[in-house]
Symmetry: C2
């Protein structure tokens, strides 16, 4: 029994080291050898746990998403249904929130490699099915609670929010100085404020932010 636990833990440790190496050196340089070196292992240890680099990458991407989804579920249960849960979901998917296990540059490397690799793109799609289902659930709650406009398309709104987070990932990886954590939060709060009925009625909610990024972000955080 302890052996099995160790097996899973070892795979997780290797996956986290993989993201670190990709983040720092890029996809091409993240060889079994480089990943093993990062951990002080021999390459054969990595090869014992993963058949090839693609399988390792897929495992690492899936794990990063699942961890984020777990954190979202954990926090959501302590929040009122609808927009507050949606907010925490988006915040947990911000690149800067994802911690060591996934990050913006590593994600872009994964996507670039996945674009022409069916097994890798399948893992992305599977993870995004779960991501979309989470957003749809919180959007449905928001609609049921009257927190959003009446003419409201859940498919469309979840696609807009997914695109926003993915776009923030691109910006964060390639123009990091323009997308510090405070700006990421502001972009998300702005998108959510636009969804809310308050905004539609011409009364921007307290989550709406304009120039005073810091002040308003602090206010929105207090509000949540």
């Amino acid at each position: 029994m302890p052996k099995i636990v160790d097996h899973g833990e070892r795979r997780r440790i290797i996956a986290e080291a993989t993201w670190r190496v990709i983040e720092r050196d890029g996809f091409d340089r993240a060889t079994f050898r480089a990943i093993a070196k990062e951990l002080g292992y021999t390459p054969s240890v990595v090869a014992h746990y993963f058949r090839d680099k693609d399988r390792l990458m897929e495992f690492a991407f899936k794990l990063g998403c699942e961890d984020a989804f777990s954190r979202i579920e954990r926090d959501a249960q302590h929040l009122p249904p609808g927009l507050p849960r949606l907010k925490i979901a988006l915040e947990h998917m911000m690149p800067d929130s994802l911690g060591r296990d996934i990050s913006a540059k590593a994600t872009l490397n994964y996507w670039g490699a996945a674009a022409n690799t069916p097994a890798m793109v399948a893992v992305h799609r599977q993870s995004y099915l779960a991501w979309r289902a989470l957003l749809r659930r919180f959007l449905s709650e928001a609609a049921a609670a009257g927190q959003v406009a009446s003419a409201f398309d859940i498919d469309l709104e979840s696609s807009i929010l997914i695109a926003l987070i993915d776009g923030i990932m691109v910006g964060s990886a390639l123009e990091s100085s323009l997308y510090p954590r405070s700006v990421q939060r502001t972009l998300i709060h702005r998108a959510l404020a636009r969804l809310s009925t308050d905004y539609e009625a011409g009364k921007p909610s307290s989550a709406v932010v304009s120039r005073k990024v810091k002040t308003t972000t602090a206010k929105a955080a207090k509000h949540a």
Copy 2:
């Protein structure tokens, strides 16, 4: 004189072939050899025009962006200032509008490679400076013409629109069935409708679309 023109044309032809090869086979397989084969050239012809693969990629990415910006400027001058120009700008940057010279999968490959390659990321940033300047200009026009809400932050709004287009690029490359051209247009129109004063006053403009994607897209196209 004809020799010089031919030189620029040849570089363009090679760049376009490069995107096609990356789109189809991925970044790693887009060698000088594969690109030359695509054109019926010998690899030495490609090597005559580009020092190495990174330089070729950078040229191709820059060219794809510049072509899109030229189309935007060309069309914008025939449209009223503000939101109509903003709309055409976003539509020209939709992956499906970019034609042969740039495409969603090839863009993701470029971004993935650029994330850890300073010269490639510099080209992205330079192109995005121009892209952001275009959006800021049209957003300023919209503000001056009273087409948007009073509490309006141009930096923030341009970041949201850039993130939206980049996110659509990611979705289009990795989940193409969820992001056909009609959905891409709907997402853009929805984002613009939210910017407009009509929407803020609780009267969704004609560009707002919900479930009836086709009908509303046709209506919006007529409106433009």
